[in-house]
Amino acid sequence: MEAFEHLYERHRTGLYRYVLRKTGHTATANDLFQGAWEKVVRARAQYKPATPFRAWLYRITYNHVMDYFRRVQPTTGMQEERLESLEPGPDMQAAMEAKAHRLRIAIRQLPEKQKDALLLKLEGGLDTGEIAAVTGVNRETAKSRLRYATVKLKEMLKDDSTDTPDDI
């Protein structure tokens, strides 16, 4: 149990942010996050120490989230909640927070595959090879998705920088 607590402490924040940014919905993210860890515990006998734990953890989580999206198509109500959650809060006045807010919105507007690659890199800290293994594509494809996502984000942020946060 101590080993599990250690692993959980090390990976919980990154994994939670990955799931939250992937779903854009706090309650769903909480459920998926908990479900992913339960799957990790149940599948512990299948873990091979030769592979990095982080890549194995994110593969299980990625599959768990994908299963969820296949099972539950995004509904109108959820979309509304997602959009509502994008509204800037009263405390988001500082320039840095506004920038982070615009960035989160820009990430949500990315195509799903590019978003996956980017979030696995940013939140999971996975390298290109591990992203490729988790998402089931080859290394070059993963790298290309990562590059496109980065370029798009920069373009979006450049466009948004001319607007006020209220326009988002």
């Binding site: 149990m1 959980y8 919980r12 909480n30 908990q34 339960e38 940013l122 990562l146 984000l153």
Partner: protein
């Protein structure tokens, strides 16, 4: 690491851009899993890890048990077959007897006579073994098997000794005993020595055999 400077530059730029994005994203106000969620995950993990039988299953994954059990049964079966083949009375001794008879038969005796002697000896040995085993029929099967093996070995030695009594000269017999000593077959040597002394009580023994 790549050897192409252009690729390396593009890679560095990508890493730099990603680092910028990460810095913005992980600023103040970044989401953390709520404490209640942390507790829920840890409690669920504790329940799963403390479930009875989990330790055993982790050490011996179920998927290996079938293969392990099958392999064990096959090995046991093969072991039994090999053991039973070795326990068949008389078979291993026949070739040895054939060689001895060939070497020990008097010059005038024909090859056919030697073969006949070998066959009759083998039959006698089987009969003797059966007769000795018969009174033990009421004993458990395994005991009877071991007893039969023991009796067969004893009778083989006895029969060999008997056969040699009629054929061997003292010199040949001493040579055989010296060979037995050099090959460290001490049990058989003592039997031979005893038989030799009973047949030739006055014949002198070489110093190597006196001990």
């Amino acid at each position: 690491m790549t050897s192409d400077p252009g690729k390396q530059k593009a890679k560095d730029k990508l890493e730099h851009d990603l680092e910028d994005i990460r810095a913005v994203l992980s600023g103040p106000g970044s989401p953390e899993p709520p404490d209640l969620l942390n507790q829920a995950v840890l409690n669920a993990a504790r329940r799963e890890l403390d479930r009875p039988g989990q330790r055993w299953r982790r050490r011996f994954p179920v998927r290996w048990m079938g293969a392990f059990a099958t392999a064990s049964v096959i090995i046991l079966a093969l072991g039994l077959i090999v053991q039973q083949e070795q326990e068949l009375p008389g078979l291993p001794g026949i070739e040895e007897d054939r060689m001895k008879l060939k070497s020990e038969a008097p010059l005038g005796e024909s090859k056919d006579a030697a073969e006949k002697q070998l066959i009759s000896k083998s039959i006698d040995r089987d009969d003797a073994a059966k007769q000795r085993v018969a009174p033990m029929a009421a004993a458990p099967a395994k005991t009877v098997e071991f007893a039969a093996e023991e009796v067969a070995d004893e009778s083989a030695l006895q029969e060999q000794g008997d056969a040699m009594e009629g054929v061997r000269s003292p010199e040949d017999w001493i040579d055989l005993m010296l060979e037995l000593k050099s090959s460290n077959q001490l049990n058989r040597l003592s039997n031979e020595l005893e038989a030799f002394r009973s047949v030739y009580p006055d014949h002198p023994l070489p110093t190597e055999l006196r001990d």
